[in-house]
């Protein structure tokens, strides 16, 4: 294969089936640089440096919540690859560094791989996500968030290709930033007040493990120590009339401190083996979650009848959640055409909570000591058979039975009066689920494949009205793929009916789609997809309301919650390369929920979210490209125009690869 052909292949890979990713960083490459060889290492680098612009009309908060690209210079992407030419480098044989969005993009990431053949491998992943949420929900959400989440993972493997390996790992996850939350004071008929919270959460995980290969079996043991802490202080900025200024409730001050620390150490042991006739694997894990907490909250103001009120609440205690899970899978391969698999899994999780709650309101003391327990035990057994009858026809079938037992205790000792053991008897229920699966795959031509399968499940006591009870899933997929053309269509239907004596819930979900790509020439490609996502649900609801805003509040037991969404989603993108010097790409993405117009009183919220984009990338010199791109975002709901926006984003950059 000539170098030109390699470059063309690389371009074709870049051209086909692009998702509607943000317009930058630039997808086009400058080809495949050979790099420079220095002291036995081949070094390749690329940097894309540019500037982003954006302009938003409408609700900037919604833009920040859904897109969030801002202005400023960026290192849009970069990569460094160092490879030992003979595979016998000094301290390392391979270094790979990749970054995206460094320099204040809301989504930044960096990864590093460093390895020495047969001796060690080190992987680092660092990611940052700036998430903004202006309290989005239609009925007046007040939970604002402007936080940054940073995640990093370090994994070091000693003897990665050996029969005996050692793993060391460290992960960290932090979330910091301002937020607004809410509280209701001074009783359950009081008013609601926004509170300021300075979120400070951190989790650190340390891992140590080993893997041993002995007589064909591989034993993998991992132990991890996980520490979590949340020291978010909550306070009231200034005296507030609350959400309902017409009432007498007023909050003049509030301070809350609620340190919440704990550990979740876990063990994972896996034993597995595969050979020509059979394969087996077992996995066992145990995690002992523990959290200790103190909540000290002091509030002053006026209650709903206008009486000056001061209240202090102190809660302290701990919560435990030991969880044990095990899987054992055994597969048989009696012939090249048949695979039989049986899997048994068991999961047992217990949640035990104890806390001491005291409240002093205007000198009146109250206290209780709750005891809660929630235990869930699930046992499942699944058998699957996959039979490849001919080269073009195969069938698979499966059956699974799972049984779950849920036990719970909810109670409290009030002011030191111990609840008698007879009243601590747990509530218990069991439920079972049978599912069957049948599927075929047909390949009448090498380029054509057809997949059809169905799964039917029956549960006896689903725990929630929306849980799966009598459900059926039908899936079909057809794909035709030749060198320059790919066409695919699929359909998926999920029906679930869950009914009891007084309530019923039904969910109908249907998905249809077609997608295809065509690459007639190495310099031209087009990619398109269309998906229809339909969901309608109908559930019985039961609540209290003042009918037509007149008279007393009444219980409504005959109403239904009906939700209908009909989402059409389409992507279209095309790319043209002119004389291997100028690459022009254009894309269009549309998501439109057309709602339901013909039904009576459905919840339906039509919206349109579209995003066309275009990019021109010019190869200025062999190793340098200049890029410019534009992307529009439009968000429009019919229900309320308050959150609609139109955003223009653009960038220009220089990509240098050598």
């Amino acid at each position: 294969m000539t170098r030109t052909k390699i470059i063309i292949v690389a371009h074709v890979f870049a051209f086909t089936l692009q998702a509607q990713s943000p317009v930058a960083p630039t997808a086009e490459s400058v080809g495949i640089p050979r790099g420079d060889t220095i002291s036995g290492y081949n070094v390749r680098q690329s940097f894309e440096v540019g500037y982003r612009w954006h302009s938003v009309g409408g609700d900037a908060g919604m833009y920040r919540s859904t897109v969030n690209y801002g202005n400023g210079p960026r290192l849009l992407s970069s990569s460094l690859s160092v490879n030992s030419v003979d595979g016998h480098g000094g301290y390392f044989d391979h270094v790979q560094i990749n970054t995206i969005g460094l320099g204040n993009d809301p989504y930044e990431s960096a990864s590093l791989r460093l390895e020495k053949n047969r001796l060690y491998r080190y992987d680092l992943s660092w990611r940052s996500d700036a998430y903004y949420n202006p309290g989005l929900t239609i009925s007046g959400g007040e939970h604002f968030l402007d936080t940054v989440r940073r995640v990093q993972d370090h994994d070091f493997t000693l003897f990665p290709q050996g029969s005996f390996k050692i793993f060391l790992g460290y992960s960290s996850n932090t979330q910091t930033g301002p937020a607004l939350t809410t509280i209701q004071q001074f009783d359950v008929r009081g008013d609601e007040y926004p509170l300021f919270a300075n979120i400070r959460r951190a989790q650190h995980e340390y891992r140590l493990g080993t893997e041993l290969n002995m007589m064909g079996f591989r034993l993998n043991v991992l132990h991890a120590w996980v520490d979590f802490k949340d020291d978010t202080p909550v306070s009231l900025g200034a005296a507030s009339q609350g959400n309902n200024p017409a009432d007498l409730n007023t909050l003049t001050s509030l301070q809350r401190s609620e340190p919440y620390h704990g550990t979740s150490p876990y063990w994972r042991v896996a034993l597995f083996r595969e050979n020509k006739l059979w394969a087996a694997n077992g996995r066992f894990s145990y995690v002992a979650g523990h959290r200790a907490f103190v909540d000290d909250e002091t509030a002053f103001g006026f209650n709903r009848v206008g009486t000056p009120t001061g209240t202090q609440i102190v809660t302290l205690g701990n919560a435990e959640r030991p969880a044990l899970a095990g899987n054992f899978t055994f597969s048989l391969f009696p012939s090249a055409k048949l695979t039989l698999t049986n899997q048994t899994s068991i999961s047992h999780i217990r949640m035990v909570g104890n806390s001491y709650f005291t409240q002093v309101t205007n000198g009146v003391f109250s206290a209780f000591n709750p005891f809660t327990f929630l235990g869930i035990r699930t046992i499942a057994n699944a058998t699957d058979a996959d039979l490849r009858l001919t080269k073009w026809f195969a069938v698979r079938a499966g059956y699974e039975y799972s049984t779950r037992r849920i036990r719970s205790i909810e109670g409290a000792d009030i002011r030191g009066v111990t609840t008698p053991p007879s009243q601590r008897v747990p509530i218990e229920q069991e439920n079972g689920l049978h599912t069957g699966l049948l599927g075929v795959r047909i390949r009448p031509l090498k380029a054509l494949s057809i997949l059809l399968d169905t799964e039917i499940g029956r549960a006896d006591h689903p725990i929630y009205p929306v849980s799966q009870r009598n459900y059926e899933t039908y899936r079909g997929r057809i794909e035709y793929k030749l060198k320059s053309v790919r066409l695919a269509g699929y359909s998926r239907t999920d029906y679930n009916t869950n009914s009891a004596s007084l309530a019923n819930f039904a969910s109908h979900s249907r998905q249809y789609g077609v997608d295809g790509s065509w690459i007639p020439k190495s310099w031209f490609s087009i990619d398109a997809s269309y998906t229809k996502l339909h969901l309608d649900t109908l559930g019985a609801i039961n609540y209290f309301a003042q009918i037509n805003n007149v008279g007393a509040v009444q219980q409504v037991t005959t109403d239904q919650s009906r939700y209908v969404s009909n989402i059409h989603s389409g992507n279209l993108s095309a790319r043209v390369s002119i004389r291997q010097r100028v690459d022009v790409s254009a894309g269009y993405s549309l998501v439109q929920d057309v709602g339901a117009h013909s039904l009576v009183f459905p919840q339906t919220f039509p919206l349109r979210y579209l995003s066309p984009q275009g990019r021109v990338s010019v190869r200025i010199r062999e190793k340098i490209r200049w890029n410019v791109g534009y992307q529009y975002y439009g968000y429009h709901t019919d229900f309320s125009g308050l959150q609609n926006y139109r955003a223009h984003t653009a960038y220009t950059s220089v990509l240098w690869a050598f």
Binding site: T2, V9, A10, L17, A19, S21, D93, G101, T137, G141, R149, Q161, Q175, T182, I183, E205, R207, M215, R256, Y266, R273, R283, V287, G289, R291, I313, G317, A319, R321, M351, G353, N354, T372, L374, A380, D386, I406, S408, E410, Q429, T435, L451, I463, Y464, V466, S467, Y471, Y490, G513, S529, L533, G539, N542, F544, I547, N549, S569, V591, Q603, Y609
Partner: protein
């Protein structure tokens, strides 16, 4: 006597396992070595030192059947004698069946925990095998020899409905590069999930402590709490959220909070832990008043609380 018999049986058992576990070369096979391949395929070889499979050549200690080109493509003598041609390559990946592709790659790659279920994975059962997602010689991706530069593009190639979900206004940041599909899924086949029923493996990978993958990042939702919102533990986060993407804020399944809550909290019998239905709102809640339509304004700690059974604080 009995102990001796048991020892003999165990000895035979482990001997059998040892024999089955020992990789064997193809009978009558003639290996020519990668340098011979280089003569006619210089372009493949010119950049092969960047390929992870180059380790087998660099090592110099591997057996011929585990070294370089022939470790995957099989012994090359016939191909050389015939002066080329795909038909003479023992394992030409574009010609062989999906099972053969899988068998070839798993000779070396089966033995990791993440691939322990690959033989029974949904992908394998649909004939999606290694070379559908990995490009051994022409990978544009920096790691894992993926056939596309971005992992999401690779997955969207078949999962177009998922691509539609990630195109929605509210979504996890996969297209933006912050996340990858494999943060939550194991494309090589996952162990059975343990957080709900209907536990047929759906490629959803567990967090370290065998929990939903959501808790890898959403650390504050993990608990444990004195008062757990039982739905989170019993049926999982998907009870209320659409994890890929949604037209509703916070990836909720409904745009309005109170209908999402009321569809479970309807107080009708046969459901819930006491079989009397999850409790419906009290008479103090006038649902006709918008004040009561956003439940989480008061029930703030909806994922779990340490101080309030009703999740007030």
């Amino acid at each position: 006597m009995l102990v001796g018999g048991v020892r003999a049986v165990l000895g035979l058992f482990f001997l059998g396992i040892f024999i089955l576990a020992t990789p064997t070369a193809l009978p009558g096979a003639d290996y020519v070595g990668s340098n011979v391949c280089r003569t006619c395929h210089p372009n493949v070889f010119a950049t092969f030192f960047r390929n992870p499979h180059y380790k087998s050549i660099a090592s110099g200690k591997e057996k011929p059947e585990n070294t370089g080109c022939e470790s995957c493509h099989g012994p090359g003598q016939d191909h050389v004698n015939a002066r080329g041609g795909k038909a003479t390559i023992p394992v030409a990946f574009s010609l062989v069946s999906p099972e053969k592709v899988l068998d070839t790659c798993l000779r070396c790659h089966s033995q990791t925990v993440s691939r322990a279920n690959i033989r029974r994975s949904e992908h394998t059962q649909r004939d999606i095998v290694c070379t559908n997602c990995h490009s051994i010689h022409s990978s544009p991706a920096p790691k894992f020899l993926l056939a596309k530069q971005q992992q999401s593009e690779l997955c969207y190639g078949c999962h177009a409905s998922v691509r539609a979900q990630f195109s929605m206004p509210f979504k996890h940041r996969v297209n933006e590069g912050f996340m990858q599909c494999t943060d939550c899924h194991n494309p090589h086949g996952a162990f059975a999930s343990t957080w709900n029923m209907a536990a047929r493996p759906r490629m959803v990978d567990q967090a370290g402590g065998n929990e939903e993958p959501c808790l890898k990042c959403h650390i504050d939702k993990r608990g444990p709490f004195v008062y757990e919102h039982a739905a989170v533990r019993v049926d999982g986060c998907e009870t209320c959220h659409s994890p890929h993407g949604s037209t509703n804020a916070r990836l909720l399944k409904r745009p309005v909070t109170f209908t999402l809550c009321l569809e479970c909290h309807n107080g009708f019998g046969n459901f819930g832990r006491r079989l009397d239905g999850p409790q419906n709102p009290s008479a103090s809640h006038n649902l006709a008043d918008p004040r009561y339509q956003n439940c989480t304004t008061c029930h703030v700690r909806i994922h779990g609380s340490n101080g309030s059974q009703l999740f007030f604080r």
